[in-house]
């Protein structure tokens, strides 16, 4: 177990290093840079800018240095000081810009993933036990509808419902009166009232797939010999089901948890944009549009790091679940 965890941990570190390089290169790829964008914006509001000014800006932003040097400085600062560099748009450290927003993104992603599995696992079990029943078909249809509806569409529908049925205000994570208020119970409750919409949108989009996974694996497992053997021992059906086939069937669910987290996180910016959520989504979109490589790069790096960390967590869970993985496949 210890060797397994150590190996996985080292792989995670290696992946993060490689990833940071890829993130940086991707952000370097589009033609032009932030200095050009800046000059263009100044020109569009009627300020006269010379070629020399452009070079000055480039020097001022540090963009005239070769990219490997910039990459090294960026990554060294992140690792040694937790400093993600300066956002060129906001002229503030990236950490200040992201600040509280990252917390919202994390809360949103985690609640979406909890909702996803909280729905998918019990429904998958139900569908496998009651295969071809009305309930099974109903969940199947609902699940496919969930897959088919694009997230932004669902966001609009839920916004409509929240306004007409519940009378809450549209979008955001807080009502106007709590927007800049300090944290309090009332603010938390207001926050939760707003959180459910993006949670449902992000959570349900992956539910159908996980229901199908759970259902299919459990259908396979529940007819296996070890289940018959356990039944032949005289074990009651309910206990039998939960102890044996369900536990085995959790394996593919747990091992894809990392991917599911990725999917939720990468789906989040669009939903956040539609719902005007004050999380990192809209920030990320803007950073990409304006070629603010430090802000965009840092966010991309954080998103990816979360994903890799999620995969690491799912590896640990898998090892706890399955002794064959824990002991390194000696079969």
């Amino acid at each position: 177990m210890r060797a397994f965890l150590l190996r996985r941990f080292l792989i995670m570190i290696g992946m993060l290093a490689l990833l940071s390089l890829i993130v940086f290169i991707i952000l370097e790829l589009p033609p032009g840079d932030f200095a050009e964008r800046h000059v263009y914006q100044l020109k569009s509001i009627g300020i006269f800018v010379t070629e020399e000014d452009l070079l000055n800006y480039r020097h001022q932003f540090g963009l005239d240095r070769p990219w490997p040097e910039r990459y090294l400085r960026w990554i060294t600062n992140i690792v040694t000081r937790g400093n993600f560099g300066l956002s060129l748009i906001y002229r503030k450290p990236v950490t200040d810009v992201i600040g509280e927003r990252l917390g919202f993104t994390a809360i949103l992603a985690i609640s979406a993933v909890i909702l996803l599995y909280g729905l998918a696992i019990p429904i998958g079990i139900y569908s496998a036990i009651h295969q071809y029943s009305i309930g099974d078909y109903t969940f199947t249809i609902l699940g496919y509808v969930g897959i088919a509806i694009p997230n932004f569409m669902l966001a609009l529908v839920l916004l409509y419902i929240s306004v007409t049925v519940f009378g809450t205000n549209v979008g955001g994570l807080f009502s106007p009166e709590y927007l800049d208020a300090p944290w309090s119970w009332a603010r938390l409750i207001d926050f939760l009232k707003h959180l459910w919409i993006p949670t449902i949108i992000l959570g349900t989009s992956g539910t159908a797939f996980q229901i199908r996974t759970m259902r299919a694996t459990l259908l396979d497992e529940k007819n296996k010999l070890y289940v018959t053997v356990a039944r032949a021992k005289g074990l009651p059906e309910g206990r039998l089901l939960m102890k044996y086939p369900v536990r085995v069937a959790l394996n593919p669910i747990v091992s894809t948890m990392g991917w599911e987290l990725t999917r939720v996180i990468s789906g989040a910016p669009i939903v956040a944009f539609v719902l005007a959520l004050p999380d990192t989504g809209p920030l990320f979109l803007r950073a990409l549009l304006d070629e603010d490589i430090y802000l965009g790069g840092s966010l991309l790096m954080i998103y990816s790091a979360l994903t890799i960390f999620g995969t690491f967590l799912s590896d640990i869970m898998l090892a706890l679940l399955d002794p064959r993985i824990r002991q390194g496949e000696k079969v």
Binding site: L225, T228, A232, K233, G234, D322, P323, K330
Partner: protein, 344 residues
């Protein structure tokens, strides 16, 4: 077949069907079988003859959508000191109810063909054996662990204490089958059903497992229903043999009778088909003509007639042969011995 003092399981005109979309499969039909206390009964037949479904019926673990259409499975229950006796009908019980669970695994246990997949890969061997003990015996976990350890030692697994905490993938095939036997015998069942328990093992291990089963059978005094397609194995272990073909018992009798004085043409051909070292050098292996009909193409009349060399025209293909007694405990379903029919 007569009821007697020593009867343990008494199956009367059992019929098990599987209603499928393509039609109804009659997996077991009109099966009468008595297994006595302490007796080793071999049940032999080709794949799909109903031998496994018969055993599953005794446990009430017939897979969906199979169900017992009619018939009785009487279990002669006796308290450990032999004073209290009662007869319960397993066929009438709810297969998911608590009544069947107090019998399943306690009074009748079963071991299976595939020792590789008989254990859950995610739980230790000890956990799975102790579970069987805790379900049926009034002991605490520590005592259950002690019993499990003793059982593993009894089936000659070296280092039982360490083995208890290991997972199935750390056991070899033969070891797993030993552990399976240990698990089945923890509650000292009156009947052990063994479904091809040695088929998946290599020949030397097969012999060891058979010896072990014989030894334990004598020690515990339990009956064994030994299901196999391998007559060689049956000859080594069984006192009585039932030969099944397409859901029916076509011949039943003491082993010696079956092997030396087979009556049914099917039994006769099965015995002829056993390869013998030396005798068949340079010859083709003997096979029974034709193939087992598909489950939806069951012939009318005697189900074996299309493959039978001694068919009586207008009789075997029209009527269903009844059971004829041909010797002491020896009975056969064939028109060669009597004109009795057994019409539905």
């Amino acid at each position: 077949m007569a009821n007697d003092e020593r009867a343990l399981i008494e199956i009367n005109s059992l019929k098990v069907i599987f209603p499928l979309d393509e039609g109804t499969v009659r997996a077991v039909e009109d099966v009468d079988l008595v297994i006595k206390r302490g007796q080793v009964m071999g049940v032999v037949g080709e794949s799909g003859c109903g031998k496994t479904v018969t055993a599953q019926s005794i446990m009430r673990i017939v897979p969906d959508p199979g169900r017992i259409e009619h018939g009785e499975i009487l279990f002669h229950r006796r308290s450990p000191d032999g004073t209290k006796k009662e007869i319960i009908d397993i066929a009438k019980m709810d297969p998911r109810g608590s009544e069947i669970r107090s019998y399943r695994g306690k009074e009748v246990a079963m071991i299976f063909q595939e020792p590789l997949s008989s254990f859950s890969p995610l739980h230790t061997i000890g956990n799975q054996i102790m579970e069987a003990i805790l379900l049926h015996q009034d002991v605490n976990k520590k005592q259950a662990r002690e019993i499990a350890k003793e059982m593993l030692a009894r089936v000659r697994i070296p280092n039982p204490t360490r083995r208890l905490d290991q997972y199935p993938h750390e056991f070899s095939g033969g070891m797993r089958q030993r552990a399976m036997i240990a698990m089945a015998l923890t509650c000292k069942p009156a009947l052990l059903m063994a479904e091809e328990p040695t088929t998946a093992l290599d020949v030397t291990i097969q012999a060891q497992i058979l010896d072990l089963m014989k030894e334990l059978q004598e020690e515990f005094g339990m009956a064994i229903m030994f299901i196999t397609h391998n007559l060689g194995v049956i000859a080594q272990i069984a006192e009585a043999v039932a030969i099944m073909y397409l859901g029916k018992i076509v011949e039943i009798g003491p082993s010696r009778e079956i092997f030396h004085n087979p009556q049914h043409p099917y039994t006769f051909n099965l015995l002829k088909a056993i390869p013998r070292i030396g005798k068949t050098t340079g010859q083709h292996l003997v096979a029974i003509e034709g193939a087992v009909p598909g489950p939806f193409e069951r012939p009318s009349g005697c189900t074996f007639y299309p493959r039978c060399e001694r068919i009586i025209p207008n009789r075997c293909d029209m009527h269903n042969p009844g059971v004829t007694r041909v010797g002491e405990g020896h009975a056969v379903r064939c028109f060669l011995y009597s004109e009795d029919t057994d019409e539905d």
